[in-house]
Symmetry: C2
DNA sequence: CAAAAAATGTTCCATATGGAGCGATCTGCG
DNA sequence: CGCAGATCGCTCCATATGGAACATTTTTTG
């Protein structure tokens, strides 16, 4: 008996399976990341953000990742201690910090990301090219619609 | 700037968006459930399992939900204290408990589940009937393939 | 049949997480 | 300018979570 077997017995078939996939794709990788690289989820999300756009504030990262401020604050502290990012004063606003990813930070990102890429490859291996295209389009539509209903 | 905006900058487009949808669909509902009904995630998964098939053991629930044993153990204890389930001795194996959902437990399930159904409705509202059919088929394929690669 | 190994559920402990509130700073309005 | 209110990041605290070890019971093995 597995979670899959009770999906047909629940009235939330879509939500259930999407959460199911997330559980099996993401959670094991997050645990491996912590074990093998000593990086935990909030730290990882900060690295991803800064890797995409350097010089963000903690506040920006809260907004992007929807994480609470204290969670981001802790991640910034620990990443700084590890030398993966460097916080600087924001000349325009003394309350803010400008966060910059270091070389070591980029290296950590480049070391960890392939793990998630490989996980995604396994996840998607069962689909044909055409099916991936369909899924891509559907996910895009679903994600773009989120801001319209979330919070309400 | 939102998470959506950096999706194109990441090499894990599918995994990212699936996790994104889970975050916005499930997490707010779990928080509301705790606030309004005093039920937390592990308790909810136990209720779902027993609602689908009464008389399961904690061990079965661990297997179905992939939750650690101590988490399920705690959920069983608290649900019992709340009168939502009743544990009995398993005559076939003295180590095991047979868990049965109570009337109050079923009532709680019937009260909470509509919240998740409504959340799913919002999530899926952007898709046409045809697109839902496509997504249904794709999710089915993805989920069925999970046991083949998970853990490896 | 006896001892080793596995299974089941619990407890202990370390840590991750989020809410609330704090001090410092900035903004808007008179 | 001066003050009320908003914003930013941090700390405190309560709780959720998972790993490891434990006692009890069952299964396997010699």
């Amino acid at each position: 008996m597995k979670l899959l077997d009770i999906i047909d017995g629940t009235p939330i078939r879509y939500g259930y399976r999407i959460a199911f996939l997330t559980n099996f794709y993401r959670e094991p990788l997050l645990r491996r990341m912590e074990l093998e690289h000593g990086i935990i989820r909030p730290e990882w999300t900060v690295l991803i953000c800064l890797s995409f756009r350097d010089g963000l504030n903690p506040r920006d990262i809260c907004e992007i990742t929807e994480q609470p401020r204290n969670t981001v604050s802790r991640a910034v502290t620990s990443l700084t201690r590890k030398g993966l990012i460097v916080p600087a004063a924001d000349p325009a606003d003394a309350r803010r910090k400008v966060l910059r990813i270091t070389e070591a930070g980029r290296a950590a990102y480049e070391r960890i990301m392939p793990m998630f890429v490989e996980g995604e490859r396994k996840l998607m291996a069962c689909l044909t090219e055409r099916e991936r295209g369909d899924l891509d389009r559907l996910l895009d539509k679903l994600c773009r619609a989120v801001p319209g209903w979330v919070g309400g």
